[in-house]
Symmetry: C2
Subunit: 130 residues, 2 copies
């Protein structure tokens, strides 16, 4: 059976998830081609195997109605990202979201628009309080 809780995707699985998120959904062929467009040389059957494992783990769902199975994310991109962030928070930041946000902001430059977006988020959070 597929496990109760979705496990954290491994590095290779995450690379595939990124591609599926980009495509929305796709066959092994489509995902493999897209993956090749990015960085490293990777075999077709490697991608197939990964997708089979990811199906067992519940990371993706498979539509078998066609000969070429179509794979789609089980959870949304956002929800997966949220779990990864929470995970990193626990493993490396002792739960301090603030510390993580600080590091994220200092890591990459964000545009003014993005900064404004973050401010809105802060307002929303503070508004919900009280």
């Amino acid at each position: 059976m597929t496990p109760k809780v979705t496990p954290r995707p491994t590095d290779a699985e995450l690379a595939i998830l990124r591609t599926i998120w980009k495509l929305g959904a796709g066959t092994v062929r489509e995902i493999h081609d897209e993956l090749l467009a990015d960085q490293p040389k990777i075999g077709y059957t490697t991608v197939l195997k990964l997708l089979q494992i990811m199906t067992e783990k519940g990371l993706v769902v498979r539509d078998e109605s066609q000969r070429a199975h179509v794979y789609a994310p089980k959870e949304s991109e956002e929800s997966t990202q949220r779990r990864l962030v929470r995970d990193l928070l626990d493993r490396a930041f002792a739960g301090s979201a603030t510390a993580l946000v600080m590091q994220a902001l200092s890591t990459r430059k964000a545009s003014s628009e993005e900064l404004a977006e973050i401010r809105e988020m802060l307002d929303t959070i503070e508004g919900e309080r009280s």
Copy 2:
């Protein structure tokens, strides 16, 4: 030789790093005791082995002047966290720091003080621009 670039710490290694960060530095005994205070039962020699591996990898440095070697972080907590964030950014967020910050903020409630701190950070970033 120790590798040029520090590799990403594994889960078990990160658990040990957290402890060392908390202690500042410590012997295997001290780190093991502290680790036991947290969650799971873990053997003394397991911690020792991990620390030896982490020394080879360059995650920690070892002072062998005493019989009980003293281990300390090679890189600061902040710099390690920054690398982990950058890593997650690349692997799961297509480099969008904003998206990561959003997820972090929505994941855990931060206090008003923390939110204010983040606002200051935003001001600083925007101030440096122009």
